[in-house]
């Protein structure tokens, strides 16, 4: 037989009103806490700036001014014209040497990344029908750079052949006249492709870090117990946590996008509204993941560790941000499907560089929505109004 006073607490007309008041109370509380604790603000606004600067300037795959050793055993007019091709290229910084031994030593100690070796009989063979061989040795330790350097060497070589042909008064005719058209990023600037990916990585980190600690903090400080013995429902607690950090996260996201466009000059070819929707879906997933970690561990320390381990390195390596997912073995490709960051990276790269390509945006946005639903749903299920 419930006592009569309790009825006016939960009577029907005022129930929605009371819920609104509880929610606004929780959200206001969270905002005050964020404002009082500079670390949340730092994570949301300072971290993106710092990370974007470090990443934006630190991560570049474009090799320029590659130090190379040019070994000319017997200088002549012919060798000089070929060498000038290397000296004139912005890709190379040649170091002139006379013997191959010192060049090999320099290659070993990584003072140079490649050796261009013109032998003593270069000028003689040059006049013969088979042509003169130029030996090119690259340091293959960094395979990617090695491959780029080989490509650059070929470019210099081709340019030189053309100039030679023109000097002889004839055009250099190649059987295939290849016309290359690189879409979306014609300069092939790695920054244009890295920065959108970076924004995704940074938001992954921030989303998880922001919320990983907040639920655990309530448990650790004993405030969760006090919250539970009020009419508040656990869904309200969850929403009360989500809304403030969502707004904070969107702020960080906006900051990153603005920096990407203004500081790094990345084009934004798609719609800002699609970007907003995509970012919102992703943030919900990332915050949801943080909340789930926090709810399960109930311990700030463990939550923080789990958040770092499960977000940073996987997002860095498996999201397709630097390493192409298509080249990974099938099992690893399967694993990448478990990372929300993967979908966000694809979404951002397309929105920034290609535009509103629905065939890319739709499936990725759906995947993000599914992740958000999963993480938030799981947090709600795990968050019971009981102390066990």
């Amino acid at each position: 037989m419930p006592p009569e006073e309790s009825t006016n607490v939960s009577s029907a007309p005022s129930a929605a009103h009371a819920r609104r008041r509880r929610l606004s109370g929780l959200i206001r509380k969270e905002f005050i806490q964020i404002l009082r604790d500079p670390s949340s603000i730092a994570i949301a606004f300072l971290l993106p700036v710092v990370l974007l600067l470090i990443f934006g300037y630190g991560v570049s795959l474009d090799a320029e001014h590659v130090p190379v050793a040019v070994v000319v055993e017997e200088p002549s007019a012919d060798t000089a014209s070929l060498v000038s091709g290397f000296q004139g290229s912005r890709y190379f910084e040649p170091m002139m040497l006379r013997d191959v031994e010192s060049a090999e030593k320099a290659l070993m100690s990584r003072q140079v990344l490649a050796i261009i070796h013109l032998r003593a009989n270069f000028s003689r063979q040059f006049r013969q029908p088979n042509g003169a061989p130029v030996q090119v040795i690259v340091n293959g330790t960094d395979s990617n750079t090695g491959r780029l350097v080989l490509g650059y060497v070929q470019g210099v070589w081709r340019n030189w052949l053309e100039r030679q042909a023109i000097a002889r008064g004839q055009a250099l005719v190649m059987p295939l006249e290849v016309q290359q058209r690189v879409w979306f990023n014609s300069r092939l600037s790695s920054r244009d492709f890295l920065v959108p990916g970076l924004i995704a990585i940074i938001m992954t980190l921030i989303g998880a870090l922001l919320t990983a600690l907040v639920m655990a903090r309530e448990w650790e400080r004993g405030t969760m117990e006090a919250l539970m013995v009020t009419p508040v429902t656990m869904s309200e607690v969850l929403v009360g946590k989500l809304v403030p950090y969502f707004i904070l996260g969107l702020g960080g996201m906006a900051l990153s996008v603005v920096m990407g466009i203004w500081l790094f000059g990345v084009p934004l070819r798609g719609s800002v509204w699609l970007l907003l929707i995509g970012a919102s879906l992703f943030l919900l997933a990332a915050l949801g993941m943080g909340l789930l970690i926090s709810t399960i561990t109930k311990n700030q320390f463990v939550a923080g560790q789990v958040a770092i381990i499960t977000t940073f390195l996987p997002a860095f390596i498996l999201s397709g941000f630097i390493f192409d997912i298509a080249s990974m073995p099938p099992i690893v490709q399967g694993i990448t499907h478990l990372l929300p960051a993967r979908y966000f990276v694809a979404l951002l790269q397309t929105l920034f560089l290609a535009g509103n390509v629905w065939s890319v945006i739709l499936p990725n946005a759906l995947a993000l929505a599914a992740f958000a639903a999963f993480f938030l749903g799981a947090s709600r299920r795990k968050l019971r109004k009981r102390l066990e």
Partner: protein, 596 residues
């Protein structure tokens, strides 16, 4: 005025605000199953203050949490305010007021913001708030501090704010889980005034758990729990009455109070012997021989006076029946081993002269001077934030003094060579142990850290496990130990290297009366062997054990002297025989007023 106890099961439904029917609850901790509540049935009635007492691990917090639906019973039924806590837990939580152990405050929110949050959550309409806030602020005396962050409040103020937050919508049932732990006597007294007013003016029902038995004495009804069972339930006098005629105050001028207490406690018919200033309070068995004057012929000039029993006597007697081993009866000196006594060095082993400590612009300690002689038990008392802990940390060399001189055993530990630190033992407030390490591993580590090895280390390890009754649990991780065991282990760790000076920072906070007695029995015997002991505490009765004590407030020493001297200072016509607590409160309150 205490209403008569009524344990008649046919209490009307309306009378019963909280009802447990054959409730059991188990937990699994560290692979072991703990029966936190075992077939508990009880009734809490409308308009009463019911106190929940019992040693650590008795199941008090579990019972509270079951009552508000934060835990569900494995068996049985819990009905709170007419709601079943399994089916209608949300309805229960919407109607009761519950303050958990750490008050449930957001420390980075201000007093007002905390109140607003809880008013929002509790659905207090905005138009009703102003009046309610004003009332709560008046009641708790926090009106001046509404803008202050909760984290910046003293322990006593936090406790009152926590209470105000649970009262923001007047609940019909108020549950307080150990509301007075770590809170000084003045704040405790104020809390009780608020509780009484709530019951009388608002007709509230209050259930509170406490480790302070003098507080339980003020309840209308008391529930005594032990290992998940209810041992007794009724007004305090039903616990006191069986002991009528069995309690005495013993005095023997010329005999050391510690020696006398040890001698009394060793007698087979003595249940409890407790130092009270210069005297010893004695509780004896019903079958004790007649003629008290002839009990201890070997003590000269022994005066035995009958005194009225207290709730604490009943508590100790009831629990002794349950736990007959150990306690006051084990007469052997716990550290009979190899304690070195004074080497004839300085008379004073601790000297503090004009010591100040500043944090930013705030002086936590403003010029403190005192000395402690070898073999003395010296107590440092004070309200929360009085500067006790800061003084303590400076003495141990953990914190540099901003000004003044500190010498412990003739040296300043802050700059001491590691050999000098061998001479002190330190036991911190929170029984700092390595939680994942077992009891044996903790002891092993600390003895090694103090340079013990080989045979000597093995001997001390065996001594510690035996003396502190830890052998049963030697291989359990220390974090799984009950609080009382943790405290014993922490003390054993601090004593492995037989220090000359022992620093104890609130060594008994949160520990039940039996464990406290045992603890002090060990301290006494250490003191008898010449170990100097420096201790801070919130328990006024513990101050009685000290040879001398200093009472601190706002970073200054208000009074210093033996317990008798301090009590005598506060003797007035209204209060001819003040207790330590009376004296303490009078001193603190006297300080608040302008001097003449």
């Amino acid at each position: 005025m205490v209403p008569p106890g009524n344990l008649d099961p046919s209490v009307s439904e309306a009378e019963a605000v909280l009802e447990f029917r054959a409730v059991s609850r188990r937990f699994i901790a560290g692979g072991r199953t703990v029966q936190a509540l075992d077939n508990v049935s009880l009734l809490v009635r409308r308009g009463r203050v019911t106190g929940l007492i019992g040693p650590d691990g008795a199941g008090k917090t579990t019972l509270m949490r079951l009552a508000v639906g934060l835990l569900l019973p494995d068996q049985g039924r819990v009905t709170t305010l007419g709601f079943d806590t399994v089916r209608d837990s949300l309805a229960v939580q919407a109607t009761v007021g519950y303050m958990p152990q750490r008050f449930g405050l957001y420390e980075d929110l201000s007093v007002q913001e905390n109140l607003d949050l809880y008013a929002d959550l509790q659905g207090v309409p905005p138009e009703a708030r102003a009046g309610r806030y004003a009332e709560l602020m008046r009641m708790t005396g926090l009106a001046r501090f509404t803008g202050r962050l909760a984290g910046r409040l003293s322990g006593g103020m936090k406790q009152k704010l926590g209470l105000a937050c649970t009262l923001v919508r007047p609940p019909r049932l108020l549950l307080l889980d150990e509301p007075t732990v770590g809170v000084d006597p003045v704040s405790r007294r104020e809390l009780w005034q608020i509780v009484y007013r709530l019951v009388q003016q608002e007709g509230m029902t209050v259930l509170l758990s406490t480790a302070y038995l003098d507080e339980a004495e003020r309840c209308d009804e008391v529930i005594l729990m032990h290992e998940g069972e209810v041992l007794g339930h009724g007004p305090p006098q039903i616990f006191r009455e069986p002991l009528r005629g069995r309690t005495y105050m013993v005095n023997a001028p010329g005999t050391s109070k510690r020696a006398m207490q040890a001698r009394l406690a060793a007698a087979s018919f003595v249940i409890d012997a407790l130092i009270q200033g210069d005297r010893v309070r004695l509780v004896v068995e019903a079958e004790a021989p007649p003629e008290p004057a002839r009990w201890f012929p070997e003590i000269e000039g022994l005066e035995v006076q009958p005194v009225p029993p207290r709730l604490e006597d009943g508590f100790v007697a009831a629990l002794r029946e349950k736990r007959p081993q150990g306690g006051a009866r084990s007469g052997t000196s716990p550290t009979s081993a190899i304690m070195r006594t004074g080497r004839g060095t300085a008379e004073f082993v601790i000297e503090v002269k004009g010591v100040k400590r500043r944090f930013g612009n705030f002086f936590a300690v403003k010029g403190v001077t005192f000395q402690v002689a070898r073999g003395e038990v010296f107590g440092l008392l004070g309200a929360n934030g009085a500067g006790k802990s800061t003084t303590f940390r400076m003495l141990c060399g953990l914190l540099p003094a901003s000004e003044g001189n500190l010498r412990v055993a003739g040296i300043d530990l802050r700059h001491a060579a590691s050999a000098a630190r061998r001479r002190i033992g330190y036991m911190s407030q929170r029984f700092s142990l390595y939680g994942h390490l077992s009891v044996r591993e903790n002891l092993h580590f600390f003895s090694r850290a103090y340079g013990l090895s080989g045979k000597q280390q093995r001997e001390r390890l065996d001594w510690a496990l035996g003396q502190f009754e830890l052998d049963q649990m030697a291989d359990a991780p220390s974090m799984d130990l009950p609080l009382g065991h943790k405290q014993r282990l922490a003390m054993a760790c601090a004593l492995m290297h037989e220090p000359e000076i022992l620093f104890l920072d609130e060594p008994t906070s949160g520990v039940d009366p039996l464990a406290r007695r045992e603890f002090w029995r060990r301290i006494n015997s250490l003191a008898e062997q010449g170990v100097t002991i420096m201790v801070t505490t919130h328990f006024m009765e513990e101050a009685e054990y000290c040879d001398r004590l200093a009472i601190m407030a706002d970073g200054e020493i208000l009074a210093i002297g033996s317990p008798e001297e301090i009590k005598r200072l506060q003797r007035t016509t209204q209060c001819p025989d003040p207790t330590m607590e009376d004296a303490f409160i009078a001193l603190i309150e006297g300080k608040g007023q302008p001097p003449n």
